[in-house]
Symmetry: C2
Subunit: 155 residues, 2 copies
DNA sequence: CTTTCATGTAACTATCATTGTTACATGAAA
DNA sequence: TTTCATGTAACAATGATAGTTACATGAAAG
């Protein structure tokens, strides 16, 4: 139900940071690699910095680094830090004004959206940034849904 | 993850049709009720007509009617008829160009999206248009362990 | 201290999707 | 034949996101 892909971009960048933790990576370098603009990179990482997932440094030798070991960063954390949401019935301006039918339908859809998102969060919680970087997840995905094959906490 | 609300609009209209099946409702009438344009109504219902959920008639006394008893129309059917999708990692133009990291992340996210959507479809399948129209769904929501139980006024 | 580098942020433009609107063709009932 | 209502194309309006430019802030290097 989304349309952007902020999560994909953020994880892409994080994968870069995770595999090259020696020195900070600059927005400019990441922008070249991702075929985009440095400001876009900074915008994408702004929320993650506030969430304590990455850190930034100015000046010489500055740039972006992961704030913690990649193994301790779950995709769920990244997802919520970006403020992503599954919402089947977003409020349109002032459309909810008084109509009972609409409110009822919206509430039902919201409940389902919440359930779907809860499941999504559970799944995202089973994969860390380190898993992504290592590429182990790929085999895991191909096993179609066997969620915790690796060192993941059981539900 | 979406931004429009096609599903909400479609269900809103369908609720109207379900409770007033005596005579077809015109796009113009529905548009007035929904505070929008007749063409918007037609566009919203076009997919549902192709899916055999509603029928339309031209000329005098024409308009829209539900093609089947509302009890046999599940929200899932409406959802799929509208082509809605949960997609955490949509492809951006030609962004998938060769980058292995991105493709890997995208595949993982796609898997999770699919799981979340599968759950959503299961939930949507448990409610019919008749349930919606009757308002029974509210109690049903509370039974499915929804997180937020709004204090429902006895109406 | 001055220079250089890199982030932080605002402001603007470009692009794209969706919605709202107008206009006209098609077909059915009166 | 007239009137009604859908079907559809075409276009403008809106809004969200991405891309770009510009400049202030701050830190390291010289
Ligand atoms: S690895 Fe995908 S662009 Fe750098
Ligand atoms: S506008 Fe008609 S019931 Fe919601």
């Amino acid at each position: 139900m989304k349309r952007d892909g902020k999560l994909l971009i953020a994880l892409h960048i994080l994968a870069h940071l995770a595999v090259a933790p020696v020195r900070p990576l600059t927005s400019a370098a990441l922008a070249v690699c991702l075929c985009t603009n440095p400001v876009v990179i900074r915008r994408a990482l702004a929320g993650l910095r506030e969430a304590g997932i990455v850190t930034s440094a100015k000046g010489h030798g500055g740039g972006w680094t992961v704030a913690r070991p990649p193994a301790t960063i779950s995709l769920r954390e990244v997802y919520v830090a970006l403020g992503e949401r599954i919402d089947l019935a977003p409020v349109r301006g002032s459309a909810g004004s008084g109509c009972l039918i609409e409110a009822t339908v919206a509430r039902a859809l919201d409940g389902f959206s919440a359930e779907a998102e809860a499941l999504l969060l559970r799944r995202l919680d089973t994969i860390s940034l380190a898993d992504l970087a290592a590429g182990f997840h790929q085999r895991l995905i191909e096993q179609t849904g066997s969620s915790h094959v690796m060192s993941a906490p059981a539900e």
